[in-house]
Symmetry: C2
């Protein structure tokens, strides 16, 4: 199965070989040109220092491999009339991707000033890694790309996400041998156990063993080939090896391997689709072993460059200063024979211009890579039909995520035939109480199953559960960027595992929004549950609400954070998120059966407003307010309400206002976030001079950050998670962090000056309650009945 | 190589088998007891509802596997006089670890009120997952643990970290089959290519295929055994399979496999150490296939529990309420025959009390697992000897990390024979300009090498470079927690990849500090370079300074953040970090050749202070100050200085003060952080009423968060990274984010009221400079000479 340099029996005709090779040379020339040249783009004159950019930025090493594969994929697309996408893990090979899309004509279509003429060619070269130009990576600016590749490790998961529900699509995915050392990449290989050959497209991994990463060899290039083969078989693949450096032999070898793989893929699909074969196929893949920086300068100052880590970035670093390097550079560039590749007007010569598929078959023009083009809205059932009946605040109990699960079940049902919605979770769907979705779908599963499993395993399940937050996130990103919809449910603490992937996706969206040709895609929706306040079976490691803070560092136009206090508000929020575009929505909600406050209409109104006074809990309607109690999050809301009920019973003269926040961004200044309240609105809610006691779900300072420009900021006192925790009772967690009703009630007493000495009795009562709590939980292991059974009291309605 | 239930020829004598099995039963009984019982710990009476805890929390499913392995490892330790540690990936099996350490007597030594008597036993049971008691995981509270295991995926990297430089140690590491699906775990297998059999100890992975995770089967349990074997061989292992459920057969099978593995390990070590074999060995490992929840209740309500995901947490959820479950629970607990395992006074019977190694050989008492016990201080050369000569501020240029590299080189040299220091980097050591360390050591590498590599690959290198931030972090954590020292150098943006691992380590340290028996360990030191302002070859994906914000959410007593402005301050900071204990130190520093400001003495003073006025840059010595310019970070410092020089030239009457911050925590309130300045000190530096223009390395709001309680907060105007970026010139990055000298100078003009209309000329000059900049970079691709060549002007000295 090794297709090496010494193979015989050539799969390519001489003409094919010649044009393939010339296309590759053209792409390599254009790549090197982007890195080096700011003038003399066709080398019509001898190369002079002033033709060279003053700052040489970019990565050559990976590029010839990427262009080599591109050329061959094009041949296959044309011969087989394939629909293909190209995902390149080493996205730093950006020049290669840009070169290919320029050769295919896509670049000039998208960026008319970079067309196939001399001005366009010149601009193609100068813009690269240049101020006001384009970045060095396979970024959103690059037509055909859904994977920036700057942060390595996500290509394979992205490729699978693109292939899901696209049965006609083949996603070729080049994986860098350095990239393959990352954790996210290393586990994404197991995606073979989740891809349904009937419903989904194919992924063709091409592991590029160019032997090196930045400064040293790579692991996978330096284990015996048998060990590597064993590894890849262990992932469920059958690898084809293509190794060497002689272009002719390599062209034949790669063409043969690619043909074999595509034949295999076609056969697998026929077997599965036509003949209903249900066993998991062994998917083909290619291991491509080439020198790093292939076809580039062989050496510099007597040290190898081609075939060495030295080719990683700019192989000849100083041709402007060093005449010897200038000479080397010129020889290298001329080795591609540019005069035979381009017309004097800068356009590629006809045989090269011909050598790519047409229209949307061009990988650089794949509509899948500009997923918004293909995006269809979800069919959403009316979320109001799933509302919990709430006759009075506190008069009903429900699990918020449990209720949401029923809505999501029907979202799955309504869109079953569309194949445009999936849910993703690292083995937490049921733990997060979204079990109802299994009435509408199963867990995607191509590995072995057992009658006893009782886990709803089916090849075409729409619930994607692998115990890898990275893979879930990567699959979902790939799925969204190719024009579909999804939701990721995750334990709140462990979503930090994908902090960095979120960063990259948010950056991708930010740049995409600035590109008119990139159409909006569906938002990335996180449902964070099993949150910091409800990690009963686990302890401190599971208690971390910091993802919200992390998200807040990204551009205001990208991120949205929602903290619905109960089930009906959660329904309304998720409905909204599933309709939104180009955002990252973070929804934090509890899973335990808890008090419900708003009926479905009130919930919808409240969520649309995003923030509001809860008049039924407040008693300042007819007088001046003594203190405002703000709350954001289900548990803080409950504690605020409980504090209010304690205070109103003990100190009936106190005038309190409860403000609940669902949309965290409302707190921010309207100049800082499109959802931000105006100062007038904010002051109307929170007053300009009364104490505000704010109970917040996460780390308290975020509320300060959001409100520090507000008039009344000095009077805002925030309680939140204070990084204290362990395995304990739900209420004890609140006490440990001082966010419980008693601390909140004491806060109010301490901050309302007019209460005077009589309030000392109530204050002491609350302090005693904390001691009673401590005694009770350490003895009985559960919360005080008065705490456990508390719900919003009915007597307040008449007051 | 499969050792299955049908194997013949028993490795255990009947007596051995009997005591092994009884020890296992005792451990299982104690585990189940912890989950369920708050009374009647020896089941002397019939089980009644009131004996059961009101809240049942914890995880049974993984536990019997962990205790089974523990029992067998103990046998091996005793027979072979081994030094062993036990790392359990599924740390939620905490009860099993606690049970084992109680049986070994360690628990009672560490926690005298939980000794081997009836009161101790009762407390052992009640304290588990109980308020005021212990958490449910293999947490810091658990003797013998270095891996909490709450967030899955890090066990194997931790195990390798522990084994490095401990040639006599064998680290047994149980990996959950669910855990094995995570990215970090999936790539940690490649650690086989980095472990030197001569210098390092051995890691014995035990992949525990109990078939399930929380709610569904696992990938590795559901691929054909041949495919799994192939995968594990691909990782460089030779797996031994032990599969079944019959205890007798499984005891024999596991004993045989374990003996074979330990024989192999011994042989590998003899070959490498004695005979100098240099090839990479194929390390043995065990695949243990058992039912999940083995020996627990077979079923509930007709559905399987043992051998199913239903055993994951509490297999019988309601024995207090449901008499049938109570009966089942009693039968289950009695199936272990507690009356034969424990004396009436609660102590284990003699044969069980005997069945474990003594003293420090007990895995629960391993000094490696309380690494502070073994910690020796590093031998540190005098950092002052590495200082850059700085005759006047701005009068020298140096790469800060380059200079640091020389110091680190000699740290490596000085400690070469100690074997207590390593450096870790995801293939970025050289890119981060720490190349000098390769003069003192090589890159650890057991894979194939090539004469041409020129990458300093050696088996016993002390530079650990795998392109996996997760593995680097996991190795380092394991290395530190077992009493050694290290430094992790990473691109600033990509350290977010380990956000979540940092969280877990910070939480570990926080809890450890509260445990008097856990001795302080060396701090985890991050050197973040190739930072947001200097990612020339790359673009937006590489620009993210948010790790500092992330770190700030953790307890003040754990985290330290340093932003040294130049090489000499970096030396002083790193020297300090390498001496510190129990912290996470985050050091952010540039790698490009840049202006130097402080000579080595001034640097030391400045860093010890952590914050200070730079009098040589200020001109308010003899008058009232008009504005304070604060700066933190190398690039912001340079821009502030440049702004000051512009302003002092154009508006010589302006009185400016420059305050540089190295230790970010100094800005915070002394009540919030031990490094915090008092209000008096803060006000003295920043005044109580003058405008403060603060240029900060990262996202600006962090400075507000740190200073919002300060008197002068309202006048603090912060510029920082505003999430704008691409591949562009260094100065253009600053301009895009408004942190450049011209914006800063304009800020000052706009905020000093007394300047009046004449300043409009200077203001316009600075605005024009921004336009000139834009024109220049988009035409020439490099920064304006006046910007590029700027350094602190000598004329200021005389003013
Ligand atoms: C997660 C991550 N860590 C570190 C880097 C820094 N980096 C950029 S390129 C590179 C080497 C990539 O090697 P490989 O995947 O083999 O790509 P190629 O050899 O094709 O350039 C590294 C480590 C990165 N981009 N992403
Ligand atoms: C990174 C991470 N994601 C999700 C979880 C939630 N979780 C807790 S236990 C568990 C299943 C673990 O399965 P396995 O490793 O097989 O352990 P075992 O079967 O031995 O319990 C999951 C998904 C977690 N703890 N860590
Ligand atoms: Mg490579
Ligand atoms: Mg398992």
């Amino acid at each position: 199965m090794t297709v090496g340099t010494d193979a015989h029996g050539e799969p390519l005709t001489d003409a094919e070989l010649r044009s393939l090779h010339r296309w590759w040379q053209a792409a390599n020339y254009l790549s090197a040109g982007q890195i080096y040249l700011m003038d003399n783009p066709l080398l019509r004159e001898p190369l002079r220092p002033e033709h060279i950019k003053p700052r040489l930025l970019g990565h050559w090493g990976t590029t010839p491999g990427l262009t080599f594969v591109y050329a061959h994929l094009n041949r296959a697309i044309m011969r087989r009339k394939l629909e293909m996408m190209y995902v390149t893990g080493p996205g730093h090979g950006g020049p290669g991707m840009v070169a290919a899309s320029w050769l295919e004509g896509t670049y000039g279509e998208v960026y008319p000033d970079v067309g196939q003429d001399l001005a366009g060619l010149r601009r193609l070269f100068t813009q690269f890694s240049f101020p006001g130009g384009i970045p060095s990576h396979a970024a959103p600016e690059t037509p055909g790309s859904i994977n920036e590749g700057g942060e390595l490790g996500y290509s394979l998961a992205h490729a699978y996400g693109a292939a899901f529900d696209n049965p006609q699509l083949t996603v070729a995915c080049v994986i860098g041998d350095g990239e393959a050392e990352t954790g996210p990449l290393a586990t994404a290989w197991h995606s073979t156990r989740f891809l349904d050959p009937v419903r989904d497209g194919a992924v063709l991994p091409i592991l590029h063993l160019n032997g090196f990463k930045i400064a040293s060899p790579t692991v996978l290039a330096r284990i015996p080939e048998e060990e590597l083969r064993s590894l890849l078989r262990g992932y469920g693949h059958e690898p084809w090896f293509v190794s060497g450096r002689d272009p002719v032999a390599m062209h034949h070898g790669f063409a043969r391997a690619l043909d074999a793989c595509l034949d295999d893929i076609a056969a697998i699909q026929v077997r599965a689709r036509g003949r209903g074969a249900t066993e998991r196929p062994r998917w083909p893949m290619i291991v491509l072993r080439t020198p790093k920086g292939w076809t580039g300068p062989a050496e510099l100052h007597g040290k190898p460059v081609e075939g060495s880590w030295r080719s990683h970035q700019v192989p000849l670093p100083a041709p402007r200063e060093d005449p010897e390097q200038l000479r080397q550079l010129e020889a290298w560039l001329r080795s591609y024979d540019p005069a035979t590749l381009f017309e004097p007007d800068g356009a590629p010569v006809p045989d090269i211009r011909e050598l790519h598929p047409r229209g949307a078959r061009r990988m650089s023009a794949s509509p899948h890579a500009d997923g918004g083009l293909l995006l269809r809205a979800l069919r959403l059932p009316d979320f109001r039909d799933y509302g919990v009946r709430v006759e009075r605040a506190g008069g009903a109990k429900a699990s918020a995520t449990g209720v949401l699960g029923e809505f999501l079940r029907d979202v799955l049902r309504e869109n079953r035939n569309e194949g445009i919605f999936r849910m993703f979770s690292p083995d937490e769907n049921n733990s997060n109480r979204l079990g109802a979705v299994l009435e509408a779908t199963g867990r995607a599963w191509m590995a072995e199953a057992d009658a006893d499993d009782d886990a709803a395993l089916v090849p075409d399940g729409r619930l994607m559960e692998m115990l890898s937050e990275h893979t879930c996130q990567g699959w979902l990103e790939g799925y969204l960027l190719t024009g579909r919809h999804g939701l990721f449910s995750c334990y709140e603490a462990f979503v930090h595992i994908v902090d960095s992937m979120f960063n990259q996706h948010a950056k991708w969206l930010k740049v995409s929004r600035e590109l008119p040709w990139r159409r909006p895609v569906a938002s990335l929706n996180y449902l964070l549950t099993s949150h910091v306040w409800q990690q009963d079976h686990n302890g401190f490691s599971h208690q971390d609400p910091g993802f919200i803070d992390h998200v807040m560092n990204k551009k205001a136009e990208i991120v949205r954070v929602y903290l619905p206090p109960d089930a009906n508000t959660l329904l309304s929020v998720v409905d909204h998120c599933l309709r939104s575009r180009n955002y990252v929505n973070v929804v934090v909600a509890g899973k335990q059966p808890e008090d419900q406050y708003l009926d479905i209409e009130a919930a919808e109104t409240h969520c649309t407003r995003g923030i509001g006074i809860w008049d039924w809990a407040s008693n300042d309607q007819e007088g001046d307010v003594d203190a405002v109690l703000g709350c954001a999050g289900d548990v803080p809301t409950k504690e605020v309400l409980a504090a209010v009920s304690l205070l109103r019973r003990s100190l009936p003269e106190l005038r309190l206002r409860v403000v609940n926040v669902v949309d965290l961004m409302r707190l921010q200044d309207e100049r800082q976030h499109p959802h931000g309240l105006s100062d007038v609105e904010f002051d109307a809610l929170f007053t300009t001079d009364r104490p505000v006691i704010f109970a917040y779900h996460g780390y308290p300072w975020l509320i300060h950050r959001l409100t520090y420009r507000r008039t009344n900021h000095e009077n805002i006192h925030v309680r939140g998670y204070n990084e204290e925790g362990t395995t304990t009772t739900p209420f004890d967690m609140r006490v440990l962090n001082g966010i419980d009703r008693f601390h909140l009630a004491i806060d109010v007493i301490d901050r309302v000056p007019r209460l005077g000495p009589t309030a000392a009795y109530a204050r002491q009562e609350f302090q005693d309650a904390l001691l009673r709590h401590r005694r009770h939980v350490t003895t009985h292991g559960e919360d005080l009945p008065e705490v456990r059974d508390w719900s919003w009291p009915s007597w307040t309605r008449t007051s």
